[in-house]
Structure formats: structure tokens, C-alpha cells
Symmetry: none
Subunit: 249 residues, 2 copies
DNA sequence: CGGCTTTCTGCGCTTTTATGCCGGAATTTA
DNA sequence: TAAATTCCGGCATAAAAGCGCAGAAAGCCG
């Protein structure tokens, strides 16, 4: 097993269970605890998890996101959300994933908007519920505590039955070569189903996450119709995506 | 259980109940009181709670201790929750409705409990998600904004597919003549399905709601196996229910 | 191809951390 | 004031971390 593979596995486990123990990982992958420890240390350095005595925890565990991400990113996400809102019309059926960018979108929805939002993301649902005029459909299944989203075959089957007008995806990593990618297997399955069930696919991402990729591919760029970032569409960073035929806002 | 996990749990408990006792925490998490004390000390150092003799208090405790409608009822619900917890065993599949009593039950679950909780109630789900060891299955469907619970045919169909070991119903009205009753059509449908899908049906209710009834019947008393109130089982108020063959705790 | 460097991994050692337990001091409660 | 509880410091122990090293594997280069 390759080092990257191992680390991807560890990351997946952390995202899934919120915690991992060095000892049990060492058993599962058949490497020494030293190796695991070194992996955890590296992943912690990259900010992908929190190393603690005896194992590691997922970031979401430590509640509030680290302040560096805070204000600046928050502002960018507001910009993205505002751009995204313009794509929504009354009466639409809208699928959304989870993630902080989607959350910002939920908060930005104008109160007079009448539409139906469908999601399995608990934080997003909570926001939608506060809105006076939108209908909320919750996708049920097992809850992944880390991502606070329902995952599983049942959720996927439900989404497959839908025919949404538009789908907003909070994106972890996008790259003109690898398409959109993620590090959680279950979430990837879900997003794939969402893409297939929607007339139009819109990716929301802060520029920071552009041109990066993660272990598991969700889809190629050609499945995506629209890309929204906080940048101006003229920004050279966005050129490759425009060339790929994506509508960049 | 990792140290951080434990501390996160303690913090959660403190924020929830505004106070914790070293002794009870030590029981719940199965570590020595010394360890708890050291944890409290650390958390106090980080300013996350206030350490006092015998336990700790939340910061908000310092502020206005708002004695809203709840306090008295709240206390009763805690008693009910504690009784209910004793019916839960590791590995069980548990269906729960919504309501504040169920919420209190969710908050009372001992951290080492491993079980699967199934519910369509958003507030309940949020509590379950905070628990370190339980699996959470969310029943999806359209969200009823005022009851904060998923309702509809799909939710009912999903529940029908389940075979739960036990079902906890927060009860709005119970009466030995009218059985359990409610005033929301959708919720009634849902609760009926829950009752049918469970081996054992447990009603949780504060004494105040006993011997009252509402427009729509959920079921007769004979469908109920156990009734939990804050009263002692010897209380004469409970006599009719015992006579009806219900196990009153 | 052969020798060199770099990376990755495991091993044995020491150091640090986490936790429980004990006895006496301090504090609360009856 | 006496009894019970809780706190605190010290100590013991087991687990985990850190460290240096060595061997294997992979990559590099002339």
C-alpha cells in the first residue's frame, strides 16, 4: 500500500468516524504505529485533521473553524452566495450539497423567494427552515457525523428519483484536469447522484480551492454548467474553465 | 475514549445543563474522578467553564438565570429521561418521535452507549449527532416547519420498513379512555407508523399531560407497553394505567 | 548498468503523557 | 463542631510519543 493511499484511507476514516486511534489503524493497515503516527503528523501539518495523544480527531470535532479561515473566507463566500442567488427563480426545485459556502447561500436567500430546497445536509436544512416561504425536503439516511450530511444508498436512491431544476455543489477541490474531487467516498457518491438528477449543475468554490485536487473524483468538468467563485469572470485563473466550456460567473 | 473527546463531551454537558458534577461525569464516562477533575481544571484554564467545588458551571450560568416557563417542567423531564435511559441496551434500534421530552432523553444518553437512533425530528437529530457512539438514521421527507419534523408518505413508508426494538414517544396527551391523542394530523400518522414498527412502545409524558386528550387519536392504551412519568409508580394518578396492563415506571 | 542519494519504514531506546490511587489538607454540610 | 466530601500533591504504571539509526526500496545520474 502506497503512502498516499494510506493517508487517504486514514483521512477517510477520520472524516467518517470523527476519530481514529493509532493502534487500530496500525492493525487495519498492517504497518507499525510509528508509520501511522508519522502519517497523522503530516496530515495534521496540512491541516487535514487534529493530532491528539493516541490518535487523531476530525476538524469538525473541535467545533469552530480556525480563525484564519474566518473573516476573509466568509466575505468571499458571501460574494459567491450573492452571485448564486441570481440563478434561482420562483418555483424551482433545487438540490444542494452541504458545506459552508452552501450555508452562506442559504442565509442569503431573499425572503420573498418561493422554491423547494432538497438537501441531506443538516446545517443547510436548519437554515432553510428559517426561511418563511421555501419548502424543505430532507433526504433521509444514515448521518455522517463529520460532514453532518446523510449518506448511504437510500439517500442516493431518493436523489435519483428527483428531477431538480438546478443543483448547487459546495466544492472541496476543482481542477481543470481532474474535474471536481473530494476525499470522502460517501459524499462523492451523493454528489454524483445530485449531478445526474439535475438539469443544471452549479459549482460554488472559493478561489483558494481552485486548481487543487483530492483522492476521489466526483466528475469531469464537462458535467458542470456553471462555476461561481468570488473572482471576476475575467480573472486569468478562470480562463481554463471558460475554455472548457463552463459558464463562469 | 480520547482525552479531547472526553473534554468535548464534558463541555457539551456543561453547555447543556449549565452544571456538571464530577461524580456523575466520572460515572458516565467511566474514568476516575481525578481525571474528571483534571479535565475540568484544564477547561477552566482555557476559560471554557467555571470550576467549582464538586463540579463545574457554564459561563452563561453567571448571567441571568432565566426562569422561563420551563424550569419546573424541565426538571420533571430530566427525571423522565433518566428513567427512560434504563430501558436502552447496547445495540438496540430505537425509534423516537420529537418533542422536548425526547430532547431531554437525547441529552441524557450515557456517552458509552452504542445504539442506533432513528428519527425525523430535527432537534432530536441534532442532539443525537453530538453523541460519540450512536448511529443516527434520519427519516427524510418534507419538513413541517412548526413541528420541525419530517412528515409525509415517504417518511411513513420508511418507518414501515423498519423493525425497531423500542420506540419512545413524546406524548402530548394521554388518557385511559381515549388512549394517546394529538392535534397534528401528520404527526399522528407518523407516530402510528412508529408504533406498528416497534417491538415495544414507550410513552414519555409529564404528569400534567395525563388524563387530557386532543382531537385525533393515535392509538388505544393497549398498544402501549410502558409509560414513564416523573411520578413514582405508586402514585394514585397512575393506577388506571397499571390496571390497563401498562408497565408504569 | 552500477553507484549514489533520497524516501520510507521498522526497531529499540528514552522521555513524555495520561491516568489511577493514596493520604493529608481544605471545604462543605448536617 | 463533627462528619462527609472534595481537593491537592505525590507517586506508580502503562501507553504513546520522540529520537536516532539501519535496512529496504525507489529514484537519479553519469
Amino acid at each position: 500500500m502506497l503512502k498516499k493511499e494510506r493517508q487517504a484511507y486514514i483521512l477517510h476514516q477520520v472524516n467518517l468516524h470523527n476519530k481514529v486511534l493509532s493502534a487500530s489503524l496500525s492493525n487495519e493497515i498492517n504497518v507499525s504505529e510509528d508509520t501511522i503516527r508519522r502519517d497523522l503528523y503530516e496530515l495534521a501539518d496540512e491541516g487535514k485533521l487534529i493530532k491528539v495523544h493516541g490518535g487523531a480527531l476530525s476538524h469538525s470535532f473541535n467545533e469552530v473553524h480556525f480563525p484564519t479561515d474566518g473573516v476573509y473566507s466568509q466575505h468571499n463566500k458571501k460574494i459567491i452566495a450573492q452571485k448564486a442567488v441570481h440563478l434561482i427563480r420562483n418555483g424551482m426545485f433545487i438540490l444542494t450539497s452541504g458545506g459552508t459556502t452552501i450555508l452562506e447561500l442559504a442565509r442569503t436567500l431573499p425572503p420573498q423567494l418561493r422554491a423547494t430546497f432538497i438537501s441531506g445536509s443538516i446545517p443547510a436544512i436548519l437554515e432553510y427552515m428559517n426561511h418563511p416561504n421555501i419548502e424543505v425536503i430532507l433526504i433521509g439516511d444514515k448521518i455522517s457525523k463529520n460532514s453532518k450530511i446523510t449518506v448511504g444508498l437510500d439517500a442516493i436512491a431518493r436523489i435519483r428519483q428527483m428531477r431538480a431544476d438546478i443543483c448547487f455543489l459546495g466544492t472541496n477541490a476543482i481542477d481543470y484536469k481532474h474535474g471536481i474531487t473530494d476525499n470522502d467516498w460517501d459524499v462523492v457518491q451523493l454528489k454524483r447522484a445530485m449531478i445526474e438528477s439535475s438539469q443544471k449543475v452549479v459549482c460554488l468554490t472559493i478561489a483558494e480551492k481552485m486548481n487543487s485536487f483530492q483522492p476521489i473524483q466526483i466528475c469531469e468538468l464537462n458535467k458542470i454548467h456553471t462555476l461561481i467563485t468570488e473572482l471576476s469572470p475575467e480573472d486569468p485563473l478562470l480562463k481554463p474553465y471558460i475554455d472548457a466550456g463552463i459558464d463562469v460567473i
